[in-house]
Amino acid sequence: MSKSAEHSPKFEHTAQSADEDRILRVWTPLLLRTILVVATIILLGGLVLMGTHSPGFYAQRYHIIQGGHVHEKQTFVELLQSAVEGDPHSVMTVGLFVLTLVPLARVAFCFLLFIKERDFAYVGFTAYVLAGLVFGMLLGRIG
């Protein structure tokens, strides 16, 4: 162990494969753009919500939530249906879901990458993370 040990540029092990580097450099800005698009949809949903509801709606909802009553539990099918029908509140909730899923999609791409590279230890790690996310959603539904 030494402080700032220096090596020649040639190493026995490469730091990242070309595919790993591509995941980082291509997907990361792409994810940011997706998040910006979703954020814009949420913003538009918010503007429509404010335009179509009475002025007191937001304040009323805000105070109900302050009191600890959130009540946002719908099935995914109900939520998607009402979003497709154009309900701005549901569009915003779906937007928040998509926003959350975006970085998780990158894990799915890594999973596919490691399958392609036949790097089975990492296929296992990424599969575990994906399974954990699905388990978390189920746990949220039950809990």
Binding site: S4, Y62, M137
Partner: protein, 275 residues
Amino acid sequence: MFEILVSLLALAIGAGFVGALSGLGGGVFIVPALVIGAHMPMTVAIGASLISVVATSAGASVAFVRDGWTNLKVAMVLECATVTGAVTGAYLAGVIPTVILELLFALMMLQSAYFSLRKQGDDIIEHGDPLAKKLDLMGEVPDEGGRTIHYEIVHVPGGAALMVVAGLMSGLLGIGSGALKVMAMDYIMHIPLKVSSATSNFMIGVTAGAGALVFLARGDVATVIAAPVALGVTAGALLGSRILPYANVRWLRLGFVVILLLIAVEMGWRALSGI
């Protein structure tokens, strides 16, 4: 209606701005801003914060990835630990008393304050331990002179154990737990600080996303609060990261430590007076 929305947006933009300037992330500041400033229940604040953390980490990770410091394999191994912790934490946040959440939040603020003040320096390892070698956990990072340095990694299980705690705190308290993640990688696994910071940021989106999914699926995310908060925190964070290169970091850091200690006192007081 507009006064409430404008004050909520102002809190969110302020939290995102301070989070980016301090390097601690928006979550550390938005939860107390919502609980203390907007009188929101702790679980509503945590749910909104987790989604904000996902959105802001995507913005910050672009800069880190461009610099080439992110270690994808380290992130993938440790995400197993953080996701396990985050899902457990987010589940527990729905069932354990608010008093405990407030007390834990106060403790995490003290840890963040310590993290901001600690001496920073790299201790680069030339020969990693067998497990790290087997998992191909190593990389290269430029030093201050622009020369490339090869680093290896030790104590993967110890680092992963602290990552479970980081994930747990993220899901329980709605924070990114960046300070704990960097400490696990930097202190325990001896990963260079730049790589630790970049990889931590890469992992934060997945950790907070895992916790946020539990909250969303449970119906604990109040859309009318979480949506403006996520947009505000992201806008504040983008603004903060633009100003950061021109800021006097040493004075700022002292200022943030004072803010963190004040939050710790307030949250601790709330917890103790609620017992």
